[in-house]
Amino acid sequence: MTNLAIRISPPEGVPISFRIATGGQRFGAQLLDILITFGGMFLFFLAMIWSGIFDWSLIATLFLLLVFFLRVPYYIFSELVWNGRTIGKRIVKIRVVSADGGRLTPHQITARNLMKEVEVFMPATTILSATVESGWVTFALVIWMLLVLLVPLFNKKRQRLGDMIAGTYVIDQPQSVLLPDLAANGTSQAAGFVFDTVHLEVYGRYELQVLEEILRQKPRTPEAVTRMEDVSKTIQRKIGYAEKVAQGDNWDFLSDFYRQQRQYLESRQLFGDAREDKYHEKTKEPE
């Protein structure tokens, strides 16, 4: 499953994009939370049953009651205290955010977690507690649960019903890593390739950023070096670079090209000529 992105506009007016958590992540977090809320108690009750002090029906009722009293408050309070993260969500590194860009309100948290009760837990416990004799009711409940569980998989923003009512998204906790600026350290190279406007006209932003990713890591193995050289040769051919580039200078060539191409594209963009990719000439023509 790919990570979809949503944009949220904070009050500062600069939209930030978040990646929507995958179905797998959410399932994992939910499973962990169930283990946390049910697990301890389940073991406790298992011990009670095993010891055989109380009869079975009494234990079952107490269990249902305690589960209800623990479960709803657990989700609501943990999401309140940790700003949209239960323990399971913290481990999986996802969290709840408000779709309107403001802070998460207590109402939203309560609404989405009460709906969780309605969507999944109530039908599940009803089936498990076997208080329903009629097969049709059980069947209907199973269908209802399946449908509800499928809802987040089939809508674009992976919202449960509760998320829709509360107006929330579940997102990936963003991780920020600052990589060095490639254009800043490429200045003191001895080779000093210089490119004309003609050379720099060819590519756009997309190709530049692909090149950036290639330049992030210096090739170590012979195969990687050949691959890098292939890239360099392709670029030389495409932009019509006439001079010969020595075998060992390909890396410097790419670095210099990256720097000058970026400078060129950035100044073009400042003048209102944003070039998305190498087809920029063609896409411009029809207008």
Binding site: V14, L62, L64, L65, E117, V118, M164, A166, P174, D181
Partner: protein, 350 residues
């Protein structure tokens, strides 16, 4: 471009932009990381201030970088940094105690007063059901078997002897305190499930909520008619009142919550249905919390007091007194005119 002594002047524009601001971003990153781990209270006053201003600067940088920089590393870093800072800065700031206190003093009573229409739907469903059940029973007692599932009637069927019916109302039985507690908890989980179903089904255009509540009313009406036929009307009324005033109201309120959602789906007005549902959700959620609270109280009363308190007048007094307490709380609390915040919160503590 070349020859200038300053190191930064040698850089291209976007690199200079980054070099000038990088220190600020790093500092923000550290503050955010700390806050993510230990929470906002762990920051000193100056640090909190700094967090806010650095956050705004970073947002500004992000906005500028989007238009001038093609450095993907920079853009994705700033994007993620701003996102993290945003989540830290816009965290809920109420304390849990404050939230709960406000919910009880203002949130719930105000939500109830705003929801006159759905509440009338809920209570009307129950009332109509009861009337219909009562009338149908007197037309033909056979209806009783149609409404009431056999496991629920527990021998209390039309034609049962006066003494048996009377016994079911006053049977103190041999229940010890412990089993009464279990009985109460069973009642609670049973009733909550009904209430939650009634509430949840309301989304489908109110109708299922209405029908379920109506059905509950039918049961009530048929039961009442049967006892009335046996000459035990007042006894049953007292027996039902002690917990029923609270419990049946809770069911009606759950129905009202569902009806509120259903009405939003049926008559969204100028909003889209999804928006209308969201708007209605605000009060509906409070109604279901109220219903849950009332069910807890009702289960306690039903589990313990109903068997312990045997006199008709006392049963009536407790039941309707409790009802009056609920009503007083819901009608009087959270009026915006006064500054009284800590009003009748403990009506539930019976």
């Amino acid at each position: 471009m070349t020859g200038l002594s300053a190191k930064n002047a040698d850089l291209i524009r976007s690199s200079r932009f980054r070099a000038e601001r990088e220190a600020g971003w790093k500092e923000l990153d550290q503050l955010v990381t700390r806050t993510e781990k230990a929470g906002l209270p762990s920051l000193r006053y100056e640090e909190a201030q700094k967090l806010a201003s650095l956050y705004r600067q970073a947002m500004n940088s992000l906005s500028v970088a989007r238009s001038i920089s093609m450095d993907k590393a920079l853009l994705s870093y700033l994007e993620a940094l701003c996102a993290r800072a945003y989540l830290v800065v816009y965290a809920p700031q109420e304390s849990i105690r404050g939230i709960i206190a406000r919910l009880f003093s203002h949130g719930i009573p105000q939500a109830v007063r705003r929801s006159a229409l759905p509440l009338s739907v809920g209570f009307l469903a129950m009332f109509l059901g009861a009337v219909v059940g009562y009338l149908l029973y007197f037309q033909d007692p056979g209806w009783f078997f149609t409404f009431v599932p056999p496991e629920m009637s527990d021998g209390r069927v039309p034609g049962a002897s006066y003494s048996y019916l009377r016994e079911t109302l006053y049977d103190s039985g041999d229940r010890s305190g412990e089993t009464l507690g279990v009985f109460a908890s069973f009642l609670f989980s049973h009733n909550t499930r009904i209430a939650i179903f009634i509430f949840a089904l309301g989304v489908f255009a109110t109708l299922p909520s209405f029908i379920l509540t109506f059905y509950n009313g039918l049961l009530l009406g048929a039961f009442f008619a049967m006892f009335a036929e046996a000459g035990l009307a007042l006894d049953l009324f007292a027996w039902l009142s002690i917990h029923g005033v609270t419990e049946l109201s809770a069911i009606c309120i759950a129905c009202a919550g569902g009806a509120q959602l259903g009405l939003a789906v049926l008559l969204p007005g100028n909003l889209t249905r999804r928006e209308a549902l969201r708007a209605a959700g605000r009060d509906a959620v409070k109604l279901i919390i109220l219903a849950g609270l009332m069910l807890i109280v009702a289960a306690i009363v039903e589990g313990f007091l109903r068997q312990l308190v045997q006199s008709i007048s006392l049963r009536l007094m407790i039941g309707w007194g409790l009802g009056a307490a609920w009503l007083a709380w819901l009608l009087l609390s959270g009026r915006d005119t006064g500054q009284d915040k800590t009003q009748t919160r403990d009506t539930a503590a019976s």
